[in-house]
């Protein structure tokens, strides 16, 4: 990777505080480099190797005039508010369905450039989970700052369009999003990723969410319109009393993606739901890593991950539930089910429970297997071809994850995209 930091500094004037943070974090990254499988968290994903094999000429995107996107990529016949990011940069936003005074929306760049404003988001530069976080702190130049006042429920969902065009080719893109949801407020967000075909880049994003008392944040992530991209998304959620965080991931597009989600249930009666559909083919490599931290009493977490892997693809789910000794009456649940449909594909599942309280209910389960041949026979005996039977069984298997979506409009949108994806996939599955 070519890190021309001097050019970056010239292109992104920042105050001395931010500049010091950048330099400190850049040095951390330079010392550690991209994570390798020697790190426990990365044992199934040797990112250092993935980068050197596929993206050896990565450089920072400093070009200013790069924000073109295809207007047809904006969803029609679906009422929504929108934010458009192109190559990680904030381009525009439209909240025409909402009460403007209740919402503060700013390009993150504006905040980074103002010393006084920056102080308010300084704590979002403290996260030190790994070297990619450091790299993000060092090189972040834009993103989203969205703050919702107390007692405000969005009338329509918000779609955050993350578009990538040809200027992102071989670039490393670092951005952050900060979503702060006030007390008793409610927001549903769909993170929609789309790239011009075959554009190869590395996107390193940190998503920060704060959900105040009684608030509900629903976050849906779709990467199915990305093909040759490489991505690391770190989502950091703080959930306060009686709040709900619902997260659904449709992980099916990128060449490489690691979604790492940390949700701290810091006050009582908060809950967190993470559900994912992972559907991979060719040589795709996707990982989902979760850390749910039950820090107070009576919180609930639930995770369901359904995966199907074709060809030479590789999927991983590492799900951790941590229960603090104060977090009595915790209810934690996780289940991973994977269909490994080719002898060259692989799925790794590592459930982890770390429990220090004695009055908790925590369970986990993990199954990995091939498609049931008796079921295939049953469907074929009704006239379906082997391919039709396999497709129907895989669709039915994965659809259980789609069924967890509680926002009806978004559910039907994702369901349609999922079925399109399934119908376009060849299911020449051999018994092995």
């Amino acid at each position: 990777m070519i890190l021309n930091f001097d050019n970056f500094q010239k292109a992104n004037q920042s105050g001395s505080k931010l500049n010091n943070i950048r330099i400190k974090n850049l040095n951390i990254f330079k010392e550690k480099g991209f994570p390798t499988k020697k790190e426990e968290n990365w044992k199934y994903t040797d990112l250092n190797r993935i980068i050197s094999n596929n993206l050896s000429k990565l450089e920072i995107l400093n070009d200013k005039k790069t924000s073109q996107y295809n207007n047809e990529w904006i969803l029609k016949n679906f009422q929504h508010n929108q934010i458009i990011l192109v190559n990680g940069d904030f381009v525009s936003s439209n909240f025409s369905f909402e009460t403007k005074e209740k919402i503060t929306i700013k390009p993150l760049k504006e905040i980074l450039n103002e010393e006084k404003d920056f102080e308010k988001i300084r704590n979002y530069f403290d996260e030190q989970e790994n070297s990619l976080n450091a790299l993000n702190h060092a090189l972040v130049n834009d993103g989203i700052f969205l703050e919702i006042e107390d007692d405000y429920s969005f009338k329509k969902p918000l779609i955050i369009y993350n578009f990538f065009n040809k200027f992102s080719e071989n670039k490393i893109i670092n951005n952050k999003s900060i979503i702060l949801l006030g007390k008793n407020s409610k927001l549903s967000v769909l993170e929609w990723y789309r790239a011009e075909s075959d554009i190869k880049y590395f996107n390193n994003t940190i998503h920060n969410c704060s959900i105040q008392k009684n608030a509900i944040l629903k976050k849906y992530i779709m990467d199915s319109n990305l093909d040759n991209s490489y991505n690391y998304h770190f989502t950091n959620v703080k959930s306060y009393s009686n709040s709900i965080f619902e997260n659904f991931l449709f992980s099916a597009g990128s060449s490489f993606i690691k979604n790492e989600i940390r949700c701290d249930l810091v006050e009582t009666f908060s809950s967190c739901f993470i559900n994912a559909l992972i559907f991979l083919k060719n040589q795709q490599h996707h990982e989902l890593k979760t850390n749910i931290n039950h820090k107070q009493e009576n919180c609930k977490s639930s995770q369901l991950v359904k995966s199907a892997l074709l060809d030479k693809s590789n999927g991983t789910y590492q799900g951790k539930i941590y229960v603090d000794k104060k977090a009595q009456k915790t209810n934690g649940y996780q289940l991973s089910k994977a269909l490994v449909l080719s002898e060259n594909s692989a799925f790794n599942s590592k459930p982890e429970l770390e429990i220090y309280a004695d009055d908790v209910k925590c369970s986990h389960g993990s199954t990995t297997g091939n498609i049931d041949q008796n079921s295939v026979f049953y469907l074929m005996s009704r006239g379906l071809s082997k391919e039709q039977a396999n497709r129907m069984l895989v669709e039915g298997f994965l659809n259980e994850a789609v069924e967890t979506i509680t926002e009806p409009n978004i559910k039907s949108l994702i369901s349609k995209l999922f079925i399109d994806k399934i119908n376009k996939t060849k299911f020449e599955i051999n018994e092995y």
């Binding site: 026979f377 469907l379 074929m380 005996s381 009704r382 129907m392 039915g396």
Partner: protein, 247 residues
Amino acid sequence: MLDIKSLSASIDGKKILDGFDLKIKPGEVHAIMGPNGSGKSTLANVLTGKNGYEIEGQVFYEDKDLLNLPIEERAQKGLFMAFQYPLEIAGVNTNNFLKTSLNTIRKVRGLKELDSLDFLKLVKTKTKNLKIDEKILNRQLNVGFSGGEKKKNEILQMTILEPKLAILDETDSGLDIDALRIVSDGVNALRSKERSFLIITHYQRLLDYIKPDFVHVLVNGKIAKTGCGELAEELEKVGYERMEIGK
């Protein structure tokens, strides 16, 4: 319609069917009875095309070599098996599955595919005639169905797909009297000059409702005795063991 000539089938070297012969003409209803392990279900599986058997002999279905046809083509050409143990298939909606199945078969037969509305109409009529609760169609295929519901679902599928040859593999096992009536009414409603049935059963009870043209007794992988309806009654009284001795 169906001509089975000295059919043998083994699994892991163990012979289950051993020189089995049977001819079924259009419109005929044949019942096969036999003790446990005599090869009844194997016969149904081999005719439907289940993998895993080493097969010898010949089977002609409408003068075509059935054993060389892929599973789905057998079904598309009008062969249907009602499973002894219908599978529970999670995530697959019964309605979607049946519609896909019917349209695949209709396409092969050169008929127009049904759209959702026409299909719904068809299903409403059929479920009503069979006195089956149409709610089962909105559920996942056989998932959480009672034994009776599963068997009724098989009969509903048969009724909708309108096969030329239907094989019922112990469809009566585990049914209460009411369900048994629904199953047999379903079969009787489909009886016609062109359509044949092969009914595999343990008990004569089902044959009180569906009058067969022929009853065969299967012992050790071949037909030991053939008769008409009275043979089943005799079997019920005497038992398989004595019949075998009398062979």
